[in-house]
Symmetry: C2
Subunit: 351 residues, 2 copies
C-alpha cells in the first residue's frame, strides 16, 4: 500500500466504503476483503424500487457524476430516484492495487489479481442486494468502461435491469480498443520508475503517466477539438498549456497500478463470454428498455461499433450525442453535452 | 555514423545518391554536403518536359512507389513519363542523422539540424534543375509527408508545377497531427537505450521502436481494419502475429534519429509560412491543376481537413479514396487501392 492524496474524500467528496466480503474472480484468485466506494444521492423508497445504478469509467470516480450528471435539474434526479454510484474495482477509491492493505495486504501493488468487468458487476449486484436490499434497478447507466458494465448487467442480470443506457462504450471490446489500451499501458510500464509495479510513489512514474496523457490527447479528443482550439473555453492559452494544466495533472495524480488494473479490464470487456463467444445470443438476453448513446466524434468507441451491437440488442434504440470533444465529451465540458444526455435519459425514464 | 543494413540497395533496390552541395536550412545551420537518394523510371525527353516528381512519406522510400505505384499499367507510366522519386532528407537513404559522415560528420546522430518541408523542396528543385535540367514538372505527387511536400511545391514554385496530387496529407499540419507525432517521438526518446540520440545501434532502441509501432497500429489503420481482421489478407493468423511479423519489424529496422528527423519535419509542415500565416493566401498561389485525395478511413489526415484546405486552393478538386486500411492504405495492400489512385491520376494527367 502506498499513500496517494488524490484518492481521498478531500479530493473526491463524501463516499462510503462498503465491504462485500471475499470476491472470487473470473480469472482465478480473489480479493479477500473487497470494498466498493459508493456515493448515493436521494432516498431509497420503502418498496426499494426507485434505484438507479451509475457505473464509472477508466480513471473516473463518482465525482464527475455528482458534479455534472446528477441533480434536481437532471434526468438523474435525486428528488425522484435513489442514485447509487459505485466506483469500479481498481479505480483507487474501491479496493485497488495501491490501497490493498489489511486482509488484502497479500494482493497489493504488482500482486493485484486480474479483474474483469463481470467481477465488478457481480460485486455491484451483491452490494445492492445485501447492503441496500435492492432487487431491481430502474436504470443502469454509465459511460465508456461504465457502458461495458452496463451491458454486463443487461446480459448477466436481465431480470434486474428495467432500463439501460450505455454511453460511448460497447458490449464487446474491439481489437482496435485493445491496441489503443495496450499503447496506454506501455506508456506507463516502460517508465523505468515503474519498476514492474513496485514503485514507491506515483511520482516515480510521472514521465510515463505524462506519455499516457499524451496518447489520451490524440485519441480521447477529436481532431476538430484541437483544430477548433476548444480548450480555449477552459481558459487555456495554448494546447501545450492545456496539456500541462489539465490532461497531464489529471493523470499524473493517479496511481499507475490502478490505471493498469482498469486498462486490463477494459481490454477484455465482452458479454459474449456468457454465451461461448456468441455476441448475438448474449445481447439477445437483454430485457431492459435501452438507449445506446455513442458520441459522434468518438475516435475509439465510434458510432458504427455501437450500431452493429444495437442490431443485436432487443428493446434498444440509438441516440447519437453530438460533441466535438469526442470520447472525453463524457467530462461534460461542452455546455451542450449534458442537455442531450438528460433528454435521452428522461425519454428513457418516462418510457 | 552507424551501420544499418536496412538503408542499402540490398533492401531498397537501385538508387543513385546525387550531391547538391551545401544546403542552408530554414531553421538555421546547414547540411554541408547534402545528398539525395533518387530513383528514376523512364526516359527524360529532349524537351525535358515529361518529368513527374514523386515525394516520400514518413518512414517511406522510393521502394514502395517502384513496387506499387509505378509501371506501364499505372498512371505513373515510365513509358510515357520520366518519373523521379526523391527520398526525403532524413529518411535514411538521403542524407540523414545515421549516415552523416565525411563532410557531414559534424552533424551526425543527435547533432543533425532541424529540417523543414521547405528545405526538402528547395533541395529537390535544385537537384531537378541542376542535375536533370528540368524546369517544369508535369506532376508532383506524394502521400502523407509527401503530400506536405507536394503542397510546398504548389506554393513555393507555382510556375514549375503543372499538376499536383497530394494524397492523404495536408498543406498545414493540424494540431492533432502534431500531438500524434509527439506521442510517436516520445515512444522512441523515452527508451533508455536511445541515450539522447547517441545509441550505438538501432537495436538499442528496439523497445521504443516497438512502442512507436504500437501507436501506429492505433492511428495508422482504421478501427474497421482491426474489426474486420483485414490483416488476414496478408496471411497472418492473429493481430499479434501481424504486429510481430509486419508492423514491428517494419519500424525496428529503421534508425531512431532518422525517424525523429522526419517526425519533427512532419509536425511543422505549413505552407502558410510563406504568407505570414495566411493559409488562404498561400494556397491561393497554386497554379497547378490539382486532385486532393484523402483516404476516407484516415484517422489523422481525415477527409474534412483536406476539404477545408480544398476550399482555399484554386484549380483543385476532391477525389476521396475508399480504403478500410485508413492512412496506411498508402502501402497499397488493398487490391482496390491503386486502381482508384490510377484513375484519379490518369484523369489528372489527361487534363
Amino acid at each position: 500500500m502506498i499513500e496517494n492524496a488524490y484518492y481521498t474524500p478531500e479530493f473526491h467528496g463524501d463516499y462510503e466504503l462498503i465491504g462485500i466480503g471475499r470476491l472470487d474472480l473470473e480469472e482465478g484468485g480473489s480479493i479477500p476483503d473487497c470494498h466498493l466506494a459508493v456515493a448515493t444521492f436521494g432516498t431509497l423508497n420503502e418498496a426499494r424500487d426507485n434505484a438507479i445504478l451509475v457505473t464509472t469509467w477508466y480513471s473516473g470516480t463518482h465525482q464527475i457524476f455528482r458534479d455534472v450528471y446528477i441533480g434536481p435539474d437532471h434526468a438523474l434526479n435525486p428528488d425522484r430516484y435513489f442514485i447509487v454510484v459505485i466506483n469500479q474495482i481498481g479505480n483507487g477509491l474501491s479496493t485497488s492495487p495501491h490501497n490493498a492493505s489489511g486482509a488484502n495486504a497479500s494482493i497489493g501493488m504488482s500482486k493485484f489479481p486480474h479483474v474483469r468487468i463481470g467481477d465488478d458487476v457481480v460485486a455491484q449486484e451483491r452490494l445492492l442486494r445485501e447492503h441496500f436490499g435492492i432487487e431491481q434497478l430502474q436504470l443502469v447507466v454509465g459511460g465508456s468502461m461504465g457502458a461495458q458494465q452496463t451491458y454486463e448487467w443487461m446480459v448477466r442480470f436481465p431480470e434486474k435491469v428495467r432500463r439501460a443506457a450505455p454511453i460511448a462504450g460497447t458490449a464487446q471490446n474491439t481489437p482496435h480498443d485493445f491496441l489503443y489500451t495496450k499503447a496506454l499501458m506501455e506508456a506507463i510500464t516502460s517508465d523505468p520508475g515503474f519498476k514492474d509495479g513496485e514503485y514507491s510513489s506515483n511520482a516515480d512514474v510521472e514521465a510515463g503517466l505524462k506519455r499516457h496523457a499524451g496518447i489520451w490527447a490524440v485519441m480521447g479528443f477529436s481532431t476538430e477539438f484541437w483544430k477548433q482550439e476548444v480548450w480555449r473555453a477552459l481558459e487555456f492559452e495554448s494546447k501545450e498549456a492545456f496539456m500541462e494544466g489539465f490532461l497531464e495533472p489529471y493523470f499524473t495524480a493517479m496511481d499507475p497500478n490502478d490505471l493498469l488494473c482498469m486498462a486490463w479490464k477494459w481490454q477484455r470487456g465482452d458479454v459474449a463470454r456468457h454465451t461461448g463467444g456468441d455476441l448475438a445470443a448474449a445481447l439477445g438476453r437483454n430485457r431492459a428498455t435501452a438507449r445506446v448513446m455513442p458520441i459522434n466524434e468518438d475516435m475509439f468507441f465510434p458510432v458504427r461499433d455501437h450500431e452493429s451491437e444495437l442490431e443485436l440488442t432487443p428493446n434498444a434504440q440509438l441516440r447519437i450525442i453530438d460533441d466535438v470533444l469526442g470520447h472525453l465529451g463524457l467530462f461534460g465540458v461542452a455546455p451542450t453535452y449534458i442537455g442531450q444526455v438528460d433528454q435521452h435519459l428522461n425519454e428513457l425514464l418516462d418510457s
